[in-house]
């Protein structure tokens, strides 16, 4: 990380720190205060959107570790989220186990199943691996629909409120604190993972797996580890989604959702800790703003046009945004953020 002129590090610990200047700390604390006071001035709807954003950030962070850092393309991420959601739903509803048990088991189960579907990654990569992960999407959803004695099948399954001890997360505000707390933890873990030996091994595999193997990196082990960690996060997100919505059926986990997650990490910036955050906020807010405000506004304003004409705008704007990012900024919003920070740091000089 670049530092302002005159700022020096005198130890490795200082050099490794994520927050390295007083300004960093001030901005970070300001951000935390802003986020954790959101329930004071947001209604249930916007808190709901914030909760959805938080859950999606956790899942997208998992996919970013798998695809962005380790280079293993997965188009079955919604399937792994479904595994987490149903594990938590079954454990807390049918077996009446505590939420925390459901949450951790959701992550572990999704991680283990992710490892199973990650086995082909040793032999295949790129498009071929993408196809094998699509299989995960279809197989998982088929099992959920047909293993009805456990999952409720097409009828679905109720999921109780999340609770820890005597504290039950009933209101949107309390759920917000639970979700944002876990989101913060997840992002912190992901950020640090990228700076460890494991994270560097992931990057080496992504950049050139043959060279990585020659350097002594065990490809099979690290690729499976990437699948486990990525799907573990997906499972945690699934568990939170289940307890937030309160009722699960397979409709929540379509192939379109899996593709959306790919779009999110591309728009945000592959292989960066902040990329999933930017990507999720951009995609989810764009979706909400188009659906909730722009489309109804256009429908009410241009009454001479046939009703319903504006419904095509949301998917078109969505597609256009992804297209523009791929063409104009393939490194995503995270790269733009880096450029902005560099420009701010050097201002008024251009370099």
């Amino acid at each position: 990380m670049d530092l302002p002129a005159g700022t020096r590090n005198y130890s490795y610990a200082q050099d490794m720190a994520i927050l390295r200047t007083k300004t960093h700390w001030a901005l970070f604390l300001g951000l935390l205060i802003f986020i954790f006071t959101l329930p004071l001035y947001l209604g249930n709807y916007w808190l709901g959107v914030a909760n959805l954003i938080g859950i999606t950030i956790i899942a997208a962070t998992g996919l970013n570790i798998l695809t962005g850092y380790c280079g293993q393309l997965s188009i079955g991420h919604a399937g792994f989220i479904a595994v987490g959601a149903y594990t938590s739903a079954v454990l807390t509803n049918r077996l009446e186990l505590p939420f925390l048990v459901g949450l951790i088991c959701a992550g572990l189960t999704a991680g283990l199943i992710g490892m199973v579907f990650g086995i082909p990654s040793l032999r295949v990569k790129g498009f071929y691996l993408a196809i094998s992960t699509i299989a995960a999407q279809f197989i998982i959803i088929w099992v959920i629909n047909h293993w009805s004695s456990v999952t409720g099948g097409f009828v679905g399954i109720s999921v109780p409120y999340a609770s820890i001890g005597a504290l039950t997360f009933k209101s949107e505000g309390s759920q917000f604190y639970l979700i944002i707390g876990l989101t913060t933890l997840t992002v912190f873990l992901a950020k640090n993972l990228a700076r460890t030996r494991v994270g560097r091994a992931f990057v080496a595999i992504r950049d050139n797996d043959l060279a990585a193997q020659v350097m002594g990196i065990n490809l099979f082990r690290y690729k499976l580890l990437a699948f486990f960690i990525g799907c573990f996060f997906a499972g945690i997100a699934g568990s939170l989604l289940a307890h937030w919505i309160g009722f699960m059926n397979a409709e929540h986990f379509s192939l379109t959702e899996s593709i959306l997650y790919i779009a999110i990490i591309i728009v945000g910036g592959l292989g960066t800790a902040t990329g999933p955050i930017f990507g999720v906020i951009f995609i989810r807010l764009l979706d909400q703003i188009l659906t909730m405000w722009v489309v109804p506004f256009l429908e009410e304003t241009f009454t001479v046009l046939p009703a319903g004409f504006a419904t095509g705008i949301a998917p078109m704007a969505f597609g256009l945004a992804i297209l523009l990012f791929l063409v104009l900024e393939p490194r995503g919003l995270a790269h733009r953020w880096q450029l902005f920070k560099a420009a701010y740091r050097l201002w008024p000089f251009s370099y």
């Binding site: 709901g48 919505i245 309160g246 009722f247 929540h252 489309v295 009703a307 419904t311």
Partner: protein
Amino acid sequence: MKSKKLIIVSVIICMALIVALLPLMSACGPTVEKTLMIGMSTPSSGKAAEKGAPMGHGNLDAIKYVNEELGGVAGYQVEVIWLDNGYDASKAATIIKRFMDEDCLFFTTASSAMMTAMMEIANRGDFPGFACFSSPALTHPPRHIYGQTPDYGDDWAAFAKYYVENIWEGPGKPRMALHLLNNPTGYGARDAARALADELGVEIPEGWVMEHSTTTTSEIESLTKFKTEKPDILYISSTPAPTAIIIKNAVELGLYPGMTIACGHASFTKALVDLGGADIVEGVYGVYPTVNWGDDVPAMAKMTEYCNKEHPADYGNMDYIISWAQSLIAVEILRLAVENVGIDKLTPQVVEEQGFKKIKNFDVEGLHGPVSYSPGDNRLSKSVRIFQIRSGKLVPITGWVEAPLIKYEDFDWYGK
């Protein structure tokens, strides 16, 4: 450096001002006349848009008609927050929160799938709503979600009851085979058959329940066993394309004519005749919860006028009819609630008690079966009509036939 500090300070002050003024912004605004606000959500984009778009049109056109020509409800305009859910469950979960946040009195959805995504949040918030197309999961056990029309299980029950009472002439029980789409459309009929076959006097022998997918191209294999075993009825709960294939295959195998074939409402549309061919599907029975375009019912003239004026492309689409009827039911619920307690006391809970639960024999101007609330039964309309294909046309052969209530929640196997 000074400029830099100035920028930082300005940004911080601006953000603080925005945060501080947010609550004030919502408090300011012109005084407006009282309206009755409801939420409506349809999948007008996404993979179910071919159904959702005309349903959204039907909903809004009917409300426009009520506001402009009938002067609203008891003198109050009906205000609709209409939102496209894109057939996306996550989006649906935020939409329901918006409806609740905006103080809507209740909400409606088109599809059972989107209602499923919203229902637990609505139930937890005591926020009533109803869906055009219903599934047993929405109304069993009954809470705050209601079904406008009978579900796929009710289709089966209504037809089985009608068949036993009016068509079956043989000794003993008629033997029925089921051919089901491998999703809730098919499994709804399966669950109803499982619950009520004995009670209605229908025998479904072991191994006579078959499944198919939406992409099936031939069901010759699954039907071949019936060349020797000869069922009395083949009941199909599916969509038009697979149903047409199954009927064609039954004709090729010489099974039909020679047995009765009946379909649930998801496949019993004009598309079935177009896909199967009028000669092939001649005599097939079907179940449908609304009238047809052109039928002589009170609502037809005004609905046709609005459809032709606002959305001419939707004319002939049955989904437009069902959503027009949904809006009329919503209006009736509001009318009852206003009449019973007055507009000032309306809350979602009051509307449920004084609107939803007070509705009795509302005829929806003839568009579908009478709408009534019965305690413990959250299906608002319990009736379907039995049709038969005659010379390529869907001809109603009965009036409204009531589907018996199936208490799924009383069965151990339900949801397992």
